[in-house]
């Protein structure tokens, strides 16, 4: 129940933020959200991640807008402030939510969604490990930067292996769930 409420509260707050356009209000809310996020452990890592997530897009949009407005002789300060505060606030709210939310529990209102999320999260870990193995093997075979043809071939082999593994895993999971009576329980 706690996780579902958290998910709903986060959804409502994220939507509400997009209706606020006053930089002063956005700034106040950002301080509040930052206090929530920074109050916990792993402070530096989370703050760094929030900045990394938004920095590239925000910098590109802000700098382009500043340049275009300066050339046209128009003001740009309020927009740049508004955009950056809003995007940072949304990133902080999302990071705070991801730190506290147990996704499968939040999705418990739908057994299918809950099972899909549990299985998908497990499979993501499995595929990520497999991809890491392939990347490390590729790097170890190429002490010098390889030509683009080899890099494309390496990426192709990674994607093929993932696709094959996914086919096998889908069959295995299906057999495993059937043998444990999962589908009988739901019938």
């Amino acid at each position: 129940m706690k996780d579902r409420l958290l998910l709903i509260a986060w959804l409502l707050s994220v939507v509400s933020v997009t209706f606020i356009h006053d930089p002063a209000r956005l700034g106040g809310l950002l301080v509040l959200a930052a206090a929530l996020v920074l109050g916990g452990r792993e402070t530096a890592r989370l703050a760094g991640r929030a900045l990394a997530v938004v920095a590239l897009v925000n910098l590109a949009v802000s700098l382009s807008y500043v340049l275009a407005s300066t050339l046209a002789g128009e003001p740009w300060g309020i927009f740049v402030l508004r955009l950056n505060l809003r995007v940072l606030l949304l990133a902080f709210l999302t990071l705070w939510m991801t730190r506290h939310l147990d996704l499968p529990r939040a999705l418990a209102f739908s057994p299918s969604l809950k099972f899909i999320s549990v299985l998908a999260l497990g499979q993501i870990q499995l595929f990520k490990r497999m991809l890491l193995d392939y990347r490390m093997a590729f790097t170890s075979r190429h002490p010098a930067p390889p030509p683009i043809r080899h890099r494309l071939g390496g990426a192709g082999r990674q994607a093929t292996a993932l696709l094959e593994k996914a086919e096998i895993q889908a069959c295995e999971l299906n057999h495993g769930m059937r043998s444990r009576g999962f589908f009988d329980d739901r019938a």
Partner: protein, 214 residues
């Protein structure tokens, strides 16, 4: 390619949700009909696959790289509706677990990349497959990526029309289609070609091995 939170006005993303929800419901029904009891494990594995596929680096000339989108590969391997549904789930997971993309723009991203990307890929592939399958895959995936990027550029480019403050400064994304179209579509015309070549390579091998084991 996907749009992050905070750049799109509610006047754009709320109607997009109204549009995408019935399409999600329809696609769940379509996918459930073809996979029956295998639906849950199949969707879960495809979601994980799409999630991880999007982390494969696509090499670009000059030593740089971009990310594989992967929706074209999913569409060719599993069909339009599974591709759309799993890509939507991936976008939701990326937003909920990594803070990447965004939940307010989920519907727009799902429509642009999941539905249109997969749909255009399959349409072009089916039109060209009778002449040359490898070429059909490359052009199909490229067309899907470019079509998605056109829609993303238009979604961003329409934001200045949706509101500005009393001083005339925009409330959301500030540039119109004259800026977004060449930048976003131009970049993706290049990465789309790389993705098309990679998909052709992968799909050929995958098809051979699946046929060999069935």
């Amino acid at each position: 390619m996907h749009i992050p939170d905070g750049l799109i006005a509610p006047q754009a993303y709320l109607p997009a949700f109204a549009l995408v929800v019935p399409i999600w419901a329809f696609s769940v029904r379509k996918v459930a009909r073809s996979f029956d009891e295998a639906l849950v494990p199949r969707l879960a594995v495809l979601t994980a696959l799409a999630f991880v596929l999007s982390s494969i680096m696509l090499p670009l000339p000059g030593g740089t790289s971009g990310h594989l989108i992967g929706v074209g590969l999913l569409a060719l391997a599993f069909g339009l509706w599974p591709a759309f549904l799993t890509y939507s789930l991936v976008l939701a997971l990326q937003s909920l677990l990594l803070g990447a993309g965004g939940i307010t723009v989920l519907a727009i991203n799902a429509l642009c990349m999941g539905l249109v990307g997969a749909g255009v890929t399959l349409l072009v592939y089916r039109m060209l497959a009778r002449w040359s399958r490898p070429l059909a895959i490359v052009i199909g995936v490229w067309s899907g990526v470019v079509a998605s990027s056109v829609l993303v550029a238009l979604a961003l480019g329409m934001q200045p029309l949706l509101g500005s403050d009393a001083g005339g400064q925009p409330l959301f994304f500030p540039f119109g289609p004259a800026v977004t179209l060449p930048i976003i579509v131009g970049t993706h015309a290049l990465t789309g070609l790389g993705e098309g070549l990679l998909t052709c390579l992968v799909f050929g091998v995958f098809e051979k091995r699946v046929l060999a084991t069935t």
